[in-house]
Symmetry: C2
Subunit: 193 residues, 2 copies
Amino acid sequence: MINIIEDLEIGELEETNYIKPIKVKFTLNGVKKTWEAVRSHDSVAILLYNVEKKAFLLVKQFRIPVYLNDKSIKYTYELCAGLVDKNKSIEEIAVEEIDEECGYKVKIEDLKKITSFFTNVGVSGAKQHLFFTIVNDSQKIHNGGGINDEQIELFFLDENKIDDLLFDESKAKTPGLMFSLYWFLKNKDKLGL
Amino acid sequence: MINIIEDLEIGELEETNYIKPIKVKFTLNGVKKTWEAVRSHDSVAILLYNVEKKAFLLVKQFRIPVYLNDKSIKYTYELCAGLVDKNKSIEEIAVEEIDEECGYKVKIEDLKKITSFFTNVGVSGAKQHLFFTIVNDSQKIHNGGGINDEQIELFFLDENKIDDLLFDESKAKTPGLMFSLYWFLKNKDKLGL
């Protein structure tokens, strides 16, 4: 994945559609406090394991907030994921994201919920629901890559190369991805894999 | 930990000290884009293992962004952690946070860097540096709990109770904590524990 970034401009955030910055005042155990926060959507993320390739299907994506922090990072390694921003169940959204981003057809009943967690407790407080699903090549229905110019690239991570990715700090990744890969290793036998 | 929350008010975020909402415009591979983001600080987090108690020392903390998302969550389970917001090395900041939050005296050379990751790639792009350290009871120098009204409570997680915490979705936690606990399980023998 080669990403060419040009014409970068950073301005004030006035009207917002996706995130909402807020100032919160409250009293905690009798002590008055204020906090700067951002409201954002919850999300779903799915670890996809291609049983024929013995590899995980991850997505590579340009993330402007990460790039602004470290200009050497032209893409991040992530789980297939999406926002819970429509009136559908988290399972329905997970299945849609697997289709849109990865091009695989998965049934809701083939999703296994792993657990959930809060990805940014200090700022956004958004929750992520984590799923696992096994796919095979016959479920591939199109190339994936996301919709609306998402510019997502697919990446197969060999199941024997997990630590090569996790401990290479030049490769930006999320802790949810990291946890899910170690969950897989711990549960591989139980999953019959 | 009982947290009583009163007088909750949510207002516009006008002047900010901790986070900076921004609107970013850029061209990615020839396609013009805009993105709503927040600049915030990188952080350090430390998994502390008390070798005498055979337990991890975690912190319980009230997090207003999480509470706004789900009013049933009065505290989160987290790693000892702190912002990289001063002119010190990440190792120096880690040692300070272990002292302030947990009340243990740890030497920089006893910190083991695990890896790093990006905790919120879509909004803040902040990086977290993850460390591990082994402590014993003789290193306990005070009660901990944080400074400036941080109201942090310490919590020992028995090393045999990891999955009880990770898969209880009523207990809010971060994916960095979850990954670090599974990293410990995978490396326990190598660490001589």
